[in-house]
């Protein structure tokens, strides 16, 4: 059951066809315990299948580091970051963008255990 609708502002950029990045706003029904990765999954599955985020091999356990993103200005793992309000999702600064919020060398292969 949805608690409320939130505004999700996502960095979008295809360096092969666009000159500069833009931001797109999606409305997402917030549900209990939703994380940033859940929000991105919701957008991908229900609103906009063209959104690129590192989701195909995300471990969801806070170990792989693949979902590292800048959330409201702070570098976080999307799968372990809860969402309560409107949110801004961006790639880490100065990263080489593949498309949208997917960038080169996404995994740190670090251990969080």
């Amino acid at each position: 059951m949805s608690l409320k609708n939130i505004k999700v502002k996502v960095f979008r950029f295809d360096p092969t066809v666009e000159k500069k990045p833009r931001y797109q706003i999606y409305m997402v029904p917030l549900t209990e315990g939703m994380t940033v990765l859940d929000v991105l999954d919701y957008i991908y599955e229900n609103v906009d299948g063209s959104l690129a985020y590192y989701g195909h091999a995300a471990c969801r356990h806070g170990i792989c580091g693949g979902c590292t993103l800048v959330i409201n200005g702070k570098t976080c793992l999307a799968c372990q970051t809860p969402v309560y309000e409107d949110v801004i999702i961006e790639p880490p600064p100065k990263s080489k963008i593949i498309r949208d919020i997917v960038y080169t060398k996404q995994s740190r292969r670090g251990s969080h255990e």
């Binding site: 315990g33 299948g49 690129a52 985020y53 091999a57 792989c64 292969r109 251990s111 969080h112």
Partner: protein
């Protein structure tokens, strides 16, 4: 076309434990090795999510300097694996497993893996610790690694493997890999199910590609559902933490009527089926029956509670294993709060391990020359039910598969890849990008996953399996050919990846369903309501599947016996399970 061609002696597909260990085994033999990984190597696959326990006989464990149980022996461990597998195991593979396990564990310790705790015949560490050690070692021996490359298909030339077509997921480039030998270490097909306890990328790509290449698959009807997996909220769905709590700490499982539903089963079954990893088969079946009979939770499970202990006692035990309620990278203090306040914690069975897969011999050769396989994507080691550790499996099988592939590669010339095949295949994989509308991959994925859990889950019957086969036939005909992507960009296009994965998922599910329908008995994790007995007179055989003239040919082969002869007779399933549990040696622990 912007495709690139890359040559290597041995190509390993899979960046988990089996793939990395295979790459090390091959490179140590002095051949060129390239490993491709669908996610980030050593940071993806099911190995990363493993608990992680490594099983080996207690005597060898004792000799390695751990407490272990010195009364244990390889023979006892062998016997236990066979009875746990309801005698369906290929005993050649079990011999290899018990024989090689101590060597593989010892080298891991030498390579820097830290042990958290140990018991009678197992040590416990973490998946990431094992993978980091394997990654370091693979770099030392000169393995080349490419991350985020998906296996699309295998090339076969004159009956021999000649390479692989891969997709660089990030750039969208198609890559032709030419190699003398290929080792598949692609894991299971967790993604075919919802809920599942695997990592996201496991969609049976290797098993489906091997089938298309003409390799035999076996035991595809056997799927282990981990019990007590979190079902709610969505961020936790598929995470096995309460499974570990129930096994290591304790607690109580109740249905929606508040009943301790396990108490209606035989006390011996409940004892083994909750205090050892037999729980995956027993508790998952018992849970699925509660749900089927209308006593389930809203999200298709039951409830986990701390039971008849004080909160202080329970919490102090949990935090001994998981300080501050931290499990892997997840802070579960919120779950602790829910348990303390007696709020409902919904748990249930989730697809976790696949006993079936590619048929291999003790050298881990498949039925296609030059094609080898290791780890969860192979068939027959654990027979109808796995209790011993799959992490040991990945290491033992990976090492041998890698060595065998290297020996093979030394003897053959670099094969040719028919250019026409490459062009035909490339055209095929690009089609979802050319369609302007049709079926959305994410929607089809959800539909298939839920149906698979319902009809091909822990409890099955003929009607449901037949319905599932029809469902899959319609999807193959009417939906797969209409899969399309919203954007036509090839750069990290998740819809494109999922469209390609869905073909593999549908393929393995169809084979699994047909095998399930054929096995008219209950054995191990294959429980049929319409055949609730184990038929040792007719079903001590494996179901083998092969692609012949583009059709699924289903046959059987007798079980492979080297030492231990199976029982005979038709025995009610729960009675058979009890017999198999009681046959266990005196060695304690969770395996």
């Amino acid at each position: 076309m912007d495709e690139r061609a890359i040559e290597t002696d041995v190509l390993v597909v899979g960046g988990g434990g089996a793939g990395l260990r295979a790459a090390i085994g091959a490179a140590e033999k002095g051949v060129g090795v390239l490993l491709i990984s669908k996610g980030s190597a050593a940071r993806s696959g099911a190995s990363l999510l493993a608990g992680a326990d490594l099983t080996l006989d207690g005597k060898s464990l004792h000799e390695l300097g751990f407490p272990g149980d010195p009364r244990d022996s390889k023979q006892k461990f062998f016997n236990d694996i066979i009875t746990q597998g309801f005698y369906l195991n290929d005993q050649r593979l079990v011999e290899v497993y018990v024989e090689e396990a101590p060597k593989r564990v010892k080298e891991l310790l030498d390579w820097g893996v830290k042990v958290n705790f140990s018991e009678e015949r197992a040590i416990f560490t973490s998946g990431s610790s094992i993978l980091s050690a394997l990654l370091r070692r693979s770099k030392e021996v000169g393995v080349d690694i490419m991350d985020d490359v998906m296996l699309l298909d295998l090339f076969v030339c004159k009956g021999k493997i000649s390479g692989v077509l891969g997709l660089n997921i990030k750039t969208g480039d198609l890559i032709t890999f030419r190699s003398k030998a290929v080792v598949l270490a692609t894991g299971g097909w967790h993604k075919a199910y919802f809920p599942n306890a695997g990592s996201r990328e496991l969609s049976g790509d290797g098993v489906a590609a091997a089938y298309r290449a003409g390799a035999e698959l076996g035991n595809m009807e056997f799927v282990t559902f981990c019990c007590n997996v979190l079902l709610w909220p969505p961020k936790w769905c598929g995470i096995i933490f309460p499974y570990l709590l129930h096994l290591l700490v304790g607690g109580k499982l109740i249905n929606s009527k508040g009943e301790d539903f396990l108490s209606k089963y035989d006390p011996t079954i409940v004892k083994f089926g909750t205090s050892t990893e037999w729980n995956k088969s027993f508790v998952s079946i018992a849970t699925a029956l509660e749900v089927l009979e209308g006593r389930g939770s809203p999200h298709g499970g039951i409830y986990y509670e701390i039971g008849d202990v004080s909160w202080e006692e329970f919490e102090s035990c949990v935090t001994k294993y998981y300080p501050k309620w931290k499990y892997k990278g997840i802070d579960f203090s919120e779950l602790g709060k829910m348990l303390k306040e007696k709020k409902p914690v919904e748990v249930g069975p989730a697809a976790e391990y696949f006993e079936g897969g590619i048929v291999v011999n003790e050298k881990f050769e498949t039925s296609v020359s030059g094609l080898f396989a290791a780890g969860e994507c192979t068939a027959s080691l654990f027979g109808a039910n796995r209790v011993a550790a799959a992490t040991t499996e990945m290491l033992v099988e990976g090492a041998i598969a890698g060595e065998s592939a290297a020996e093979y590669a030394k003897k053959v010339d670099m094969p040719r890849i028919d250019k026409k095949n490459v062009v035909r295949l490339e055209k095929k994989v690009l089609t979802p990008l050319t369609r302007e509308g049709g079926v959305k991959p994410a929607e089809l994925k959800r539909k298939i996953q839920r149906m698979a859990h319902e009809k091909l889950g822990p409890v099955r019957n003929r009607e449901g399996i037949e319905e599932f086969i029809q469902f899959i036939e319609i999807i193959k005909k009417e939906e797969i050919p209409k899969l399309y992507t919203t954007t036509k960009s090839r750069r990290y296009n998740r819809e494109w990846i999922e469209a390609l994965e869905l073909e593999n998922i549908v393929q393995v599910l169809e084979i699994s369903a047909k095998s399930s329908l054929m096995r008219t008995e209950s054995r191990g994790v294959h429980y049929r309501l319409d055949h609730p007995y184990t038929d040792n007179n007719n079903w001590l055989k494996e179901i083998i599947v092969k692609r012949v003239n583009d059709e699924i040919r289903v046959t059987t082969r007798p079980i492979t016996i080297t030492k231990t002869s199976p029982p005979s007779g038709v025995i009610p399933y729960m009675e058979m399970m009890k017999k198999m549990m009681e046959a266990h040696s005196e060695i304690g622990g969770h395996h």
